[in-house]
């Protein structure tokens, strides 16, 4: 009886102190909505004031949460606020903008419903670029899961200068993408490139091409550069995966008569499934978002003849023009619509990919 009474009074006390907690939470949520609305509708000084209001309300919420032994709120709230403000809100705002015919100047006012999306889905330029993203992903997927895995297996054997090899192979990953594009442009450049004079010096003139102007070649050079840039990442992920494979399982397989290849095929390889999931997911997302290297090496126009066009380049072109001396009309509403379609494609396929690959991991 005593226990029940005590528990009851604790519950009552807790319920009483929940009031300010809920009120502070509601105020924080409300002020956040006001902040978002002011960001869209009002001038910067008003936005600053609403931001201040939100910070005060959020701080109150954090204090009341701490008193209720919910200290995590104070830690989560800043990151959550930034995430909502700078990731979720712009994403939702992008959906809104995609419904307007908008050049990017001033506020979007000419509402055209889904016409931008109809234009995107019937555009040959969009599907051409989309196809290049698909091929780019497929090529990088194959190369990363074969060459990347092979390099990881070789390094897993801890050869001499292991650390040096690992650092050298990984180093392109940390180079700026724009710098990578420029480096390779200096190699393949049509008039200033290094490769052509080197080949000519070696009397291999028959191999000389207009590397960045040959429509049957330039796209594959982009694949090569992308692979060079990202080769170190799958290698490191697979290497980490290999280091997590228990030695005793390999030893047991060997005792059962398996040779090196069989032990790898039937023990190590299946246990690398989580690493495959990560590598595949990352390469899919990065190859569908790819922009910097095609932009630097091939230009905003996807030259030559659209053969290096990818979705991000098309978005850039419609939103900001060609970035050269030639001016064109800007269609930022349409560009955002392409971005929204691209977002949905990446979201859908990446989710599907994760579900399928995780299921495979579980079944193992």
């Amino acid at each position: 009886m005593f226990k029940v009474t005590a528990a009851g009074s604790t519950r009552a006390g807790r319920a009483a102190s929940e009031g300010p907690f809920r009120l502070a939470g509601a105020l924080a949520a409300l002020s956040f909505v006001i902040l978002l609305l002011s960001a869209i509708l009002s001038e910067p000084p008003v936005t600053w004031v609403t931001l201040g209001l939100y910070v005060v309300c959020a701080s109150l919420f954090a204090v009341t949460s701490a008193r209720l032994r919910r200290p995590y709120v104070a830690f989560i709230l800043p990151a959550l606020s930034f995430y909502l403000l700078f990731v979720v809100f712009p994403t939702i705002e992008a959906f809104r903008v995609s419904l307007y015919q908008w050049t990017g100047m001033g506020e979007p006012t000419n509402f055209i419903g889904l016409r931008n999306f109809a234009g995107v889905l019937t555009s040959a330029v969009f599907w051409n670029a989309f196809w290049h993203n698909v091929v780019l992903f497929a090529a990088i997927f194959v190369l990363q899961n074969t060459v990347g895995l092979l390099l990881a297996v070789l390094l897993h054997g801890r050869p001499r200068f292991f650390e040096l090899y690992r650092a050298v192979i990984f180093s392109p990953v940390i180079i700026s993408l724009v710098a990578t594009g420029l480096i390779w442009q200096l190699i393949f450049g049509s008039n200033i490139g290094l490769l052509t004079p080197v080949l000519q010096g070696l009397h291999l003139d028959f191999l000389v091409r207009d590397w960045l102007g040959d429509d049957s070649l330039t796209f594959w050079l982009l694949v090569l550069v992308q692979f060079w840039q990202w080769m170190g990442l799958p290698m490191i992920i697979f290497l980490a995966g290999l280091q997590n494979v228990p030695e005793e399982l390999i030893a047991a397989a060997r005792i059962d008569g398996a040779n090196e290849v069989q032990a790898f095929r039937h023990v190590t390889f299946p246990l690398l499934a989580p690493a495959f999931t990560v590598v595949t997911g990352l390469s899919f997302i990065s190859m569908f978002k790819v922009f910097d290297i095609p932009f630097v090496m091939a230009g905003a126009g996807g030259a030559p003849d659209g053969t290096t066009d990818v979705l991000s380049l098309v978005i850039y072109r419609y939103a900001f023009g060609l970035g050269t001396t030639v001016q064109t009309s800007l269609q930022q509403g349409y560009a955002v619509a392409i971005g929204v379609v691209m977002f949905l494609i990446i979201l859908g396929v990446a989710t599907l990919q994760l579900v399928v690959l995780r299921r495979r991991e579980v079944s193992l």
């Binding site: 000084p45 201040g52 330029v125 450049g189 429509d215 905003a300 126009g301 030559p304 001396t325 064109t328």
Partner: protein
């Protein structure tokens, strides 16, 4: 020792956070509050300053190098007539006002500083902070600032037809009646007038033709500038025979193939023909215009090797270092070439005509147009600078220091090349300054490489170019 509970620590942290947030808020509010001395100075009663000469006489009739913008989405009325302007009152005496001007020519830094110095002789209380941005970043930077409701007091605004869109957004101040347009040529007034109102001030124009190295051509025995395609072919052959690359071109980004095309096509069309193309009454698929593309393909043997993979800057580098003897060039490119090689002897020739019955020509666009931010807090000072820029004094300062081609009556240039550009026999606007033709550069960037590789005929590319115009015309009629 006093023991501090976890709860107390967390409460303390939360209060600290709240305190810090409050400080941020206060500082944010104080930075947002426009209490700067410059604002106060502007808002203070200003003594009268010398008024610019109010001119009511219209500019003398000029050949009209522009098409009636019937295809532009917001129909534009005739250019505003010159009107007397009130005296700008930039600042109270003794109080300095600083205005900021954004523009997209960082290479003009020294020239613009000299222009500002000249301005300050007349308006000593106005500081003009000029900020140049790379062209690739300028538009994004400017639009982000303007869309956020901030931005510079003055900025280089886009030329038409984008100016039409910007004017409708309310980001530009209506300068009708606030600036003296007496010295403006008709071209200048048309470039700044949308729906009968003035939205900016013309600081200069550029003219595009062919730049060449005079000494290289002389060495190859080319004495007279070619005036027809046949004469240019002959000159190219002489240069090639001497192992000189005759022509540097960039097909990869479509930049120079595009200018080549509009230059050569303009000489075929003339001004009336161009206006007919703009209005949709003449087609780019007509045989004499398909012949322009075919001529460019025929000249491919005179371009540098690998020109299909060459981008604009690479092509410029080839010309600047005399690896190529000629290339498409605008008047504003010459300063850069002289900086690279001060001893370079540069010539300028008009786009050659298809035959002696046609006139060689140039293409001209607006280089530098300055608008006033509608939300500026230093309106008087900003208008004073804009107004001065559009007077003979300002125009002369631009011509002398920035070497921009003037669009003002009464401004003189001592540079023989500039004089030649200004005295062109036929001047046709750059095609992207018209709504219906503004996207054909995109076609050259997207598909302009194909004809040179034999993957598309001249007629097929012409069809794509015409489709781009048709699409714009259809959009304008919606």
């Amino acid at each position: 020792m006093t023991r501090i509970s976890r709860r107390q620590v967390l409460s303390g942290l939360a209060l600290l956070t709240a305190g810090a947030a409050g400080s941020v808020l206060l500082s944010a509010c104080s930075s947002a509050a426009p209490g700067s001395p410059t604002v106060a100075a502007t808002q203070a009663a200003a003594p009268p300053t010398t008024a610019p000469t109010a001119t009511s006489a219209p500019a003398t009739a000029q050949p009209t190098p522009t098409a009636a913008p019937t295809a532009a989405p917001p129909p534009t009325t005739a250019p505003a007539a010159p009107t007397p302007t009130p005296a700008p009152q930039p600042a109270a005496s003794g109080q300095k006002v600083t205005v900021e001007l954004w523009y997209l020519h960082p290479e003009w830094k020294e020239g613009m500083a000299a222009v500002v110095k000249t301005f300050q002789k007349k308006f000593p209380n106005v500081e003009v902070n000029v900020v140049g941005s790379e062209p690739s970043q300028y538009q994004n930077k400017l639009q982000t600032a303007l869309n956020a409701g901030i931005g510079p007091d003055l900025f280089q605004h886009p030329s038409r037809p984008q100016l039409d869109v910007m004017a409708a957004t309310g980001q530009l101040m209506d300068l009708t009646g606030k600036v003296d347009v007496g010295a403006w040529t008709r071209v200048a007034r048309e470039a700044e007038t949308v729906k009968g109102k003035i939205w900016g001030v013309p600081g200069g124009k550029y003219t595009v033709g062919i730049a060449y190295h005079v000494d290289v051509w002389e060495k190859a025995g080319i004495k007279d500038e070619p005036k027809t395609w046949a004469e240019l072919t002959e000159a190219f052959a002489k240069l090639k025979a001497m192992n000189i690359i005759p022509y540097s071109i960039a097909a990869k980004d479509g930049s120079l193939t595009y200018f080549n095309y509009i230059g050569l096509a303009s000489s075929v069309l003339g001004l009336d023909g161009f206006n007919a193309v703009v209005d949709g009454k003449k087609k780019l698929t007509d045989p004499e215009l398909v012949a322009v593309i075919q001529q460019m393909i025929d000249w491919a043997k005179f371009y540098q090797p690998n020109f299909v993979g060459t981008a604009y800057l690479e092509a410029k580098a080839l010309f600047a270092t005399q690896k190529a003897s000629a290339m498409d060039a605008g008047s504003s490119d010459y300063n850069g070439y002289r900086q690279i090689n001060p001893n370079a002897k540069l010539g300028f020739m008009y786009w050659p005509a298809p035959d002696a019955q046609h006139q060689p020509c140039t293409n001209t666009g607006m280089e530098f147009q300055v608008g006033v931010n509608a939300k500026t807090k230093n309106a008087d000072a900003a208008i004073a600078f804009a107004n001065w820029l559009g007077t003979v004094d300002g125009g002369q300062a631009m011509t002398d220091n920035v070497k921009d081609l003037t669009v003002l009556e009464g401004v003189k240039s001592s540079d023989p090349l500039q004089q030649k550009m200004l005295n062109t026999p036929l001047d046709v606007p750059v095609w992207y300054e018209r709504f219906s033709t503004q996207n054909i550069g995109q076609v050259w960037a997207d598909k302009g490489q194909a004809p040179f590789g034999g993957k598309m005929t001249a007629a097929e590319l012409a069809k794509l170019l015409q489709e781009s115009i048709d699409k714009q015309l259809a959009a304008a009629n919606q």
